[in-house]
Every structure is written in structure tokens, then in C-alpha cells.
């Protein structure tokens, strides 16, 4: 691994990270950077579906709401959906993967069969079925995306555990009478985490994409709350005329997901150049 390559990767990682930080900052300080309330409607004909202008940077939507404001507030939803969903996936994936890899035997077989079943079923349908069960709201959307996205992680962690548990220091800890819990979380897990970071970062992008798809189906977060997905979807109805309504939220999703992926990819190279495997879309 030569130095030049690392630099290239670092630059990428830096760009990705900066974009994400800017997005988060915008979302957090939404109130300061927007001139309009995201949900304030203006039904006067001349106020609706306006193209981008100085007053309305990204134009207005069909209820006369300022799209820029909605996008900025929508970032809160979209970014946190990605974030929370992945945390849930990571927790489930790491715990099950660790148990499976550490104990082996029946536990391992059982967990891995479950993983295979979940992986064999198209994820979006699994999400739809759960969503029908729990009803759409921002919380359930996060939880369901999280709960259906842990299988890859579990396999990753399991593989790490399989190789790590035979290491000398683990054997030593065991000889010293450390509890299984302690060995798993204190001794092995910290050494198995770097692929988890990478996979998690890539997962955030995936979760944001899934949220947008759910919004397209009318199953995302509740109106009038804005998310990039549902701004995009309501813009779809005006695709042949007010194209900007659809263009900008899509671009925001693209740029954010791209940043996460570039960051994850760069981290992957920086942390472990030999790492393989790729998150499923």
C-alpha cells in the first residue's frame, strides 16, 4: 500500500465526511437557515408550483410551501432514518453474529438458518409486510428498516469471531476464568469491529434509499412532515411541468448516499485493505 493511494482515499473520505457534516448541520440548524416554515401553505395560485427564484431557492410545491425549507427540515427525517435504522441493524447483527460465531454448534446453525431465510426473501417485501403490521410512522419506518437489515452484518461478525476466538489472548482470558459475556464483548468484539464500521456506514446510505422508496409507495413518514422521499414523491405528480420538485430531493438523496458510500469505501481501504464483500442494495 503506497502512500499516494492512501492520500487519495483520505481525500475521498474527507469529501464524503464533509458533505455529511454539512447536511447534518443544515438539518440541526434548520430554523436558522430557512426563511419559511416548512409546513406553511399558501394556496394563492401565484404562490404555487413556482420555479426556483431568489425568494424560493428551490421553488414552491403544489400547496405553495417553500421547497428549500421542506428539504432542509426533511433532511432531519431522512438523515435520522438512515442513522437510527443502521444502529438497530448493527446491534442485532453484532449480537447475533457474536453469539453464533462464539458458541457455534446448534445455536450457530439456528441463527445462520434464520439469516439465510431472511436473505432469501426480497427485503422490500419483508419491510412491506412489517409495515402493514405496525402502520407507517417515522419510528416504525426506522425500526423496520433496521430490523430487516442485519443479516449481512451478522455473517460478517460471525466470520470474525470464528477466527478470533481461537487466538491466544482469547484462550488466555478463558483460562483465567473470564465469563463468556466478558470474553465476547471485552476481548473479541473490539477486534472485530472495523468491518462493522464500514458496513454500517454503507448501510446508512441503503437505509436512506429504502426510506425514499417507501415514500414513493406512500408508506413513509406521516404528512405533513417532510422527508426527501415524500417531497420527491409529491413532486412526481408534476413531473412533466414542475420538474424541479422531483429533481432536487432526488439529488439530495443521491449526494448523501454517495457521500456515505465513499466514506465507507475509503474507510474500508484505510482500515483493512484486504476486506471483501459488499453491502446489498
Amino acid at each position: 500500500m503506497n502512500k499516494k493511494k492512501r492520500d487519495w482515499r483520505k481525500r475521498y473520505a474527507f469529501v464524503g465526511l464533509s458533505v455529511i457534516i454539512v447536511m447534518f448541520a443544515a438539518a440541526i440548524f434548520a430554523g436558522f437557515i430557512t426563511a419559511y416554515s416548512p409546513n406553511e401553505t399558501n394556496l394563492a395560485p401565484e404562490a404555487k408550483l413556482q420555479p426556483p427564484s431568489r425568494e424560493h431557492l428551490l421553488g414552491t410545491d403544489d400547496l405553495g410551501r417553500d421547497v428549500f425549507s421542506r428539504m432542509v427540515y426533511g433532511a432531519r427525517i431522512s438523515l435520522s432514518v438512515g442513522f437510527v435504522a443502521v444502529i438497530i441493524s448493527v446491534v442485532i447483527g453484532v449480537v447475533l453474529g457474536a453469539i453464533s460465531g462464539y458458541y457455534g454448534g446448534w445455536v450457530d446453525i439456528l441463527i445462520m438458518r434464520v439469516v439465510e431465510i431472511v436473505m432469501c426473501f426480497p427485503r422490500i417485501f419483508l419491510i412491506l409486510m412489517f409495515l402493514a403490521f405496525l402502520g407507517p410512522s417515522i419510528i416504525t419506518v426506522m425500526v423496520i428498516i433496521g430490523v430487516t437489515g442485519w443479516t449481512g452484518l451478522a455473517r460478517l461478525v460471525r466470520a470474525e469471531f470464528l477466527s478470533l476466538k481461537e487466538r491466544d489472548y482469547v484462550q488466555a482470558a478463558r483460562a483465567l476464568g473470564a465469563s463468556d459475556f466478558r470474553i465476547i464483548f471485552r476481548h473479541i468484539l473490539p477486534n472485530a469491529l472495523s468491518p462493522v464500521y464500514v458496513s454500517a456506514i454503507l448501510g446508512v446510505g441503503g437505509a436512506i434509499l429504502i426510506e425514499s422508496a417507501l415514500s414513493f409507495l406512500g408508506l413513509g413518514v406521516q404528512i405533513p412532515m417532510a422527508s426527501w422521499g415524500n417531497i420527491l414523491t409529491s413532486g412526481m405528480h408534476y413531473i412533466e411541468s414542475a420538474w424541479w420538485l422531483m429533481l432536487f430531493p432526488g439529488l439530495a438523496i443521491l449526494i448523501t448516499v454517495l457521500s456515505y458510500n465513499i466514506l465507507g469505501e475509503a474507510l474500508r481501504d484505510l482500515l483493512d485493505p484486504r476486506l471483501k464483500g459488499y453491502g446489498q442494495k
Partner: protein
């Protein structure tokens, strides 16, 4: 037939059309003056292509409840009666009918020149067979309840059939207009598991030619149709699940017709290019949108509270803002413009001041100055639910939320997926207020929605509206054949519901179809435009899909 056609021939056609424009316009004028000349341009041929969000489910008419199947079935089948362009009842397969003085017997005299699409003659046996099948519980016909009062169906002779009722049932004439199916093809067959659903034979103007699942249904005209061969040779329904895509298809000529959204009607189709190629129509649809209050919820027990909420809703802003003006205010549960609709009822023009006064009268006052009203320590705050995926309703909810905030009522909107919406909230009466719409049958009888008997589980009186007077009016209404008397009855029901506001009635949206200009003979009427489809035609020079 048909067969288009390379791109080149399309251009060629356009070229011809341009040259023919003068001739067509002139001849069209001649035709409009209802004298001579008409014969020359009434020509057979071409195809009519429309777009549909979903594929048809079944072409067994009495099992179909979805709108695409309904559309297709109405082209393939006929009933004993139908409504004419002014929504009056008239005979279809029946040439005439008479109702006995005690209103218990209806006799239909059938047309003698009707053929099934396979060439067999249609007779009274088919009629009896159809209703026997519908009333057979094994077939689980969804509309069977419409016929539950029938005591006996008697075939008097080959072309006369008699229905005996246990008690007078005024909507009967309309309900008996359900599609008749052929006995000679379906007797001794398990109707739920036969291929008739995808290979139907009817008496109607069009017969099924091809059904490609989730792609298209093609109907061919039936030359021996009893009202004469339809002019347009093919009726095609293309399945295009996305509405935005449907509009793109319309503009580029992939389909000839679709229902426009108000926005498309008002802004996207006002161009010269569009007007050159399409004609837009606008008429009131038979449906209305409303806010329903769960009357079992203590919040809405007081009539004044419901009236106040109605006063606080800016209907005009909703109609102008969400419907772009493509709708009319609704004041009660009947089709506007029909005899049942009462124009002289209490109305609730937007008046937040009056709303506040009424609420104050009812004891709702903002005591802690948080902008929300309170009474007995309770905040006036509730959940307004609607079904997810209906953008128009979601937009209406958003506006109403703002309207009500202005009078100190706090509302949380929740849009819920259809399945859960029905089973968890509506069926279990587990809601406070909801936004929904009703599509009304042509007969004003609305027992299923407003009678207190329909409060029972599964019934559609889910707001639990109970008014003795309304109950007895509804009961009388469905037993009364005299239209003047029915008018008095239903107008009274309208008056009571308008006063009590169990719903805040919002609006009747317009149906806004656009149809390619090459189709002539369209005459908009209260029934819409498609009632005379068999008279539509395309002048030969303008035909697009040619043999």
C-alpha cells in the same frame, strides 16, 4: 385489425390530417346542424385506448367490485334496466317494465332481438338464471343484499319475466339492472372456478378479444349488438399503474383518454398543443369527500361543536387550493342536481368567529392562553385520520389542520395504509375523526351508511349516527315508489344531516376526462360522457389505428 404502424406512417397520418383539417371542420359543422351530411362522416373503424391504474380482476360481472372490471363489464354485458344520460331509469335488455299497484311485482318485457355474442338468443331463462346464481349463497355475490327481498322470480314466457318482492323496495328497478349472464354457457358449472371470468360472453356492444394480464384488455365491437354495430371497432384498456406516467402517455399519444387531475386540467392542458389534440370535459362526479366525527367520542357529542368545526373549515380555499376550483361545495349525502338533493339546507360558510362563539357556548375556552381550547381540564386536541396514498385527501387534511388551529383546535394528522385503516380504525370504530369519500349509487337510498342498523359491526355507519327520524325516513324512502314523495323524504334527510353535521360535508369533485379530439359524437350529460360510447366515431381521415 389495427396495427400501427411504424413511426413513418404516424407522420404520414399527421400530414394527411393536416390536409384533411379543412374538410373535417367543414363537415363537422354540417353534422352539428342536425340535418343532412351526417351519413358521410359517421364511419366505422379505429380504436379507443384508455389508461387504467389497475388491471381488471374478474369479468364475471356480479363478482366484480373494482372499477376496471366494472368498466369492461359494462361494455360486454347488459342489464334489464340502465340509467339514461339524465340518470333516469330506462329499459336496457327489457323493452319495458311495469310495477304492480301494490309495488310487490315487477314485470319485465324483454327485447326479442338480443343475441349473445356466441350467436345464441337471449331469453327470460337467462334472467332467472342470473338472479338464481347471485342469490345462491355459495357464490358469495357481494351485492346479494340488494336482492334479499325478492320472494320469487317467475319466467312467464320466453320474453317475460316477473319479480315478486316480499315488501316494496323502491331501488329495485335500478338494482335489477345488474348484468345478465348466459345460462347456456354457465349452467351446471362452478362459477367461481370456471374460465368465464377471463373468457366472458355477454350481450353488450363489445366482446373480449385479448386479455394480457397487467398489460391490456382488447375488446372488439359486436356487429350484431341489438342497438346496432358500434362505430369504434376496438376498445382497449391499457394498464399503467402510475398516474404521472399515464399523463405522459396521454400527451405522447400512447392512450386516447384519461381522467385528469385538477392541476393537469387547469394548468397542464391549457396549451394550444393540447387543445389541438384533446377535448376536456368537466362534470360533477357521484362522490363527495367529508370529515366524519366519531359520535361516540365525548369531544363530538355536542352538535354545536360539530357545527363550529364546520364553520371553521374554509371549503372555498380547499376547492380553490387543492381542487384548483374543480369541484363544488357539498352540503349533504345526495348526488347534487338530482331530485334528492336539497339546495335549501343550513350551510356553513367559512366563519372562524362564529365557530369560536359556538365553541364558547359549548364551554370550550382557552383558559391557559396556550392557543388551544380547554373544557373541564381537557384540551381540544384530537387525531384526524385518512387513508394513505390519496394525495388530495392528505392535502385537504393539511389545510384543515391549519384552519382548526386558528380557532384553537389542535389536530394531529395520521395517514394510514388502507388495510389497517379499514380493519383497525374504521371497522373497530377506533378513531376520533376521519377524512373519507363516498361514491353514491344512483338511487338515493342510503340505508347502509346512515341507518342506525348499519352501526352494527362491519356496517358502514361507523360514525355511529343515530337519529330516529332519519331512520324512519330511510325506511319509508326505500319502500316508496312515488318520486315526489321520495323527494320530500330525502330532502328532509338532507336537511337533518345538514343541521346536525355528523359529517362536515366538504366537496363534490368534478370528473375531468380528456379525450382525443378525433372521437366525435361525445355528448356530455349528467351521466358523464361514456353512456353513448357506441355512438362515438372517428371520421375516416382521422382514424389512427387502421386495418
Amino acid at each position: 385489425m389495427n396495427r400501427l404502424k411504424s413511426k413513418a406512417s404516424v407522420y404520414l397520418n399527421r400530414l394527411i390530417k393536416k390536409k384533411a383539417l379543412f374538410i373535417t371542420t367543414v363537415s363537422f359543422f354540417i353534422f352539428s346542424v342536425p340535418l343532412a351530411g351526417a351519413q358521410e362522416i359517421l364511419s366505422y373503424g379505429d380504436a379507443y385506448v384508455s389508461g387504467s391504474i389497475a388491471d381488471a380482476i374478474t369479468l364475471i360481472p356480479f363478482l366484480a367490485t373494482d372499477s376496471t372490471s366494472g368498466n369492461i363489464n359494462s361494455m360486454i354485458f347488459n342489464g334489464l334496466t340502465k340509467v339514461d344520460k339524465d340518470l333516469n331509469i330506462t329499459g336496457d335488455l327489457a323493452e319495458s317494465y311495469d310495477v304492480s299497484d301494490d309495488k310487490l311485482t315487477i314485470t319485465f318485457h324483454l327485447r326479442k332481438n338480443v343475441l349473445w355474442q356466441d350467436g345464441v338468443k337471449f331469453t327470460a331463462d337467462d334472467v332467472k338464471f342470473t338472479f338464481d346464481i347471485i342469490l345462491d349463497p355459495r357464490n358469495a355475490a357481494p351485492y346479494a343484499a340488494n336482492f334479499q327481498d325478492i320472494e320469487e322470480i317467475k319466467v312467464v314466457d320466453k320474453y317475460t319475466v316477473q319479480f315478486k318482492y316480499r315488501k316494496p323496495y323502491a331501488p329495485a328497478l335500478l338494482k335489477l339492472g345488474t348484468a345478465i349472464i348466459p345460462k347456456h354457457l354457465l349452467k351446471n358449472i362452478d362459477i367461481k372456478n370456471c374460465n368465464f371470468a377471463r373468457d366472458p360472453v355477454g350481450t353488450g356492444p363489445y366482446k373480449l378479444a385479448e386479455w394480457k394480464t397487467d398489460q391490456h384488455i382488447i375488446l372488439d365491437s359486436f356487429y350484431n349488438y341489438f342497438e346496432g354495430r358500434p362505430f369504434i371497432d376496438k376498445y382497449v384498456e391499457r394498464v399503467i399503474p402510475n398516474q404521472a406516467v399515464q399523463f405522459l402517455e396521454l400527451i405522447t399519444g400512447g392512450i386516447d383518454s384519461m381522467g385528469l387531475t385538477p392541476y393537469q386540467y387547469k394548468y397542464r392542458t391549457d396549451t394550444k398543443k393540447f387543445k389541438e389534440r384533446f377535448v376536456k370535459y368537466k362534470y360533477l362526479s357521484r362522490s363527495y369527500t367529508y370529515i366524519g366525527y366519531n359520535l361516540k367520542d365525548p369531544l363530538f357529542e355536542d352538535k354545536r361543536v360539530r357545527q363550529a368545526l364546520s364553520y371553521a373549515v374554509d371549503r372555498k380555499a380547499i376547492i380553490d387550493g387543492v381542487l384548483m376550483g374543480m369541484g363544488e361545495e357539498c352540503t349533504g349525502p345526495f348526488i347534487k342536481g338530482t331530485y334528492a338533493y336539497n339546495e335549501e339546507v343550513r350551510k356553513y360558510p367559512y366563519n372562524p368567529q362564529k365557530a369560536k362563539e359556538l365553541l364558547k357556548e359549548a364551554g370550550w375556552i382557552d383558559r391557559n392562553n396556550d392557543g388551544i381550547l380547554e373544557k373541564d381540564g381537557l384540551k381540544f386536541s384530537f387525531k384526524l385520520i385518512t387513508n394513505q396514498g390519496n394525495k388530495q385527501r392528505e392535502d385537504v387534511a393539511t389545510i384543515i389542520q391549519q384552519n382548526w388551529r386558528e380557532i384553537g383546535v389542535e389536530v394531529e394528522i395520521q395517514a394510514i395504509a388502507w388495510a389497517a385503516f379499514i380493519t383497525e380504525f374504521v371497522d373497530k370504530r377506533n378513531f376520533q375523526a376521519l377524512i373519507l369519500g363516498w361514491t353514491m349509487p344512483i338511487d338515493p337510498d342510503n340505508y347502509n351508511v346512515w341507518h342506525s342498523d348499519s352501526m352494527k359491526d362491519g356496517g358502514l355507519n361507523f360514525i355511529s349516527y343515530r337519529n330516529k327520524e332519519v331512520d324512519s325516513l330511510i325506511e319509508r324512502g326505500r319502500e316508496t315508489y312515488n318520486q315526489d314523495e321520495r323527494q320530500r323524504i330525502y330532502r328532509k334527510i338532507h336537511e337533518i344531516t345538514a343541521e346536525e353535521q355528523p359529517y362536515t360535508f366538504l366537496y363534490f369533485p368534478y370528473a375531468l376526462p380528456a379525450v382525443s379530439k378525433r372521437f366525435k359524437g361525445i355528448e356530455p350529460a349528467p351521466a358523464g360522457i361514456s353512456y353513448n360510447f357506441i355512438k362515438w366515431y372517428v371520421p375516416e381521415v382521422e382514424q389512427k389505428y387502421t386495418r
